[in-house]
Amino acid sequence: MHPRLTTPLLALVLWLQFGSSMHAIEDVYLEPETFIAQSFESEPERKVLWLTKDLKASIKQVLGRDYRGMRIRYWQQGERTAWILEEIGKVKLITTGFVIEGDAMHSMQVLIYRESHGWEVRYPFFTDQFKGLELGEKNRLNKKIDGISGATLSVNALTRLSKLALHLHKEATAQ
């Protein structure tokens, strides 16, 4: 390699070696257990929603595709439920936590993000848009989510998941 390229490369590598803290960190921004603990004032009841034939059909309408699995875990305390759901953004799964109370979205947090672009979706300037979301007729949300340039697919995935969480909350609290 030519010295004119090698020198800056070495400088960058050295900077990485000593400039950064050099400790590996997971791409887990918030542990699911911590998210659940933060979402309730006291220990919530841990529940399971079994995916019956009818429920799978309604989920397909909301999500636009089949949802894998036999059941979905959730946590409940009074009228508040919490859900941890996953959906592919561009090519990788995004793990997201939703808290719903009284049929409206209380909060949304991206717990694990694995895509190469679109990290903005985990910060409050994006996630705050989801507060107060409700699912109306024909599975439409009551407001439009503004996207992130370069992360269109991740934003779409999170929007779909928020619909799913609201739908599951309705189903679970009706039982």
């Binding site: 390699m1 030519h2 004119r4 390229l5 800056p8 490369l9 960058l12 590598v13 990485l16 950064s20 803290s21 050099m22 400790h23 590996a24 960190i25 997971e26 791409d27 887990v28 921004y29 309408q61 636009g64 894998r68 699995g69 036999m70 059941r71 561009k90 090519v91 990788k92 694995r114 190469s116 672009h117 990290w119 903005e120 910060y123 300037f125 994006f126 705050d128 848009q129 024909k138 599975n139 439409r140 439009k144 989510i145 503004d146 996207g147 992130i148 340039s149 370069g150 269109t152 697919l153 779409n156």
Partner: protein, 447 residues
Amino acid sequence: MKRQRILTLLALCSAAFVATLPAQEAPQELPSQAEMWKMIQAQQKQIEALSAMVQANQTEVSTTRTELATAKTEAASAKAEASTAIAQLKATQQQVEATTIAVEEIGDSAFNMPAWYNNTSIGGYGELHANFNNGADNEIDFHRFVLFFNHEFNDWISLFSELELEHSIAGDDQDGEIELEQAYIRMDWTEQFNTDAGVFLLPVGILNETHEPNTFYGVERNNVEKYIIPSTWWEGGIKGTYRTETGLTFDGTISSGMDLDGADGYIRSGRQKVSKATNDEAALAGRVKYTGIAGLEIAASVLYQDDLDQSTNADYSGLLSTTHIAYTTGGFSIRALYARWDLDGDIASDAEEQYGYYIEPSYRWELSEKYGDLGIYARFSDYEYFYVKDSKNISELYENKIYEVGVNYWPTDNVVFKLDYQDTNDADQYQKDGIDSVVNLGVGYQF
């Protein structure tokens, strides 16, 4: 026996009573024997009735006791059965739980696929274009077929790659080629800082890094980014990215650079595509980007290379400056981009400044949950670039203004159909071929 005792007792009492009568009731007349016998018989009947009642009560009590004992036994039995049922229910629940977990694990592991299956993901996109040129031959081309292969080595080291087949067929005397546009190792050192090492897309412009067909308007990628930046542009090297919670991102790259190799000033021809590329001059690039408001992106980039023509004696530097804004609120979006190259050194004066900009407002509606979205856009592009053919017989500055309108239809988020019309009357690039306008049709997908 009990009855006889009672009768005997009554007879004795009656005899004693009769014996005392003369002393106590002397003045009264005593009952006769017959009357006495009647009285005794009457009392005998009362005694028998009472005795029957006592016996009946005793039987009733005995029966009740028996029934109570039976009930107690049955209750104990029922309790035991309930306890057994609860235990069986718990056992069944545990079995269901275990079965469900097993089924889910089988599903997750896709019937015992190897470990890499869970850590490797694939994706891709593609687009077919049909160009109807007013004044020249029409053309149809499956422009791009792209596959992504990504792999997570562990929780902080990943591979991202993009392999592309352009124009359907690659090989000798064919129009197409196979290109490795991306292949880099990403290391997430902290939540805020990561590095990419390998072949990556340079952080310049809007489309260079994000160019899946469903993410932009227009069948073809816009000419400003194509001929000025020039997208899609990738190099080999190292990139560092630092981001803050306020929405600021800083990117810095040091990489291989362009080699115009005698095509003095024609920027697009300088991409070496990291294919046995001349690597005597590094390119340094930096970008600052703000995305701290949902729907908004503002960015500015610079890239500098000391000598763009590495392979010849001609020596000239190049500085690329770009800035753009992309904003979406509700259905409305607007994109605007400006980019320019400043070349300095042994270069034709017409090639020293090459620039371009475009502005693109658009609006997108949701038709329905089932039928997807429809969007319309308009774009004005103004750009100048220096064109040199390899033979150097042609060498000129193309000045272009293009007016463009079009429609995108997304039946689902990852599939798009496109139609656009471009007025190219004021675009040298098209006028040299006698093309006054172009209608483009396209279909694209991503997965």
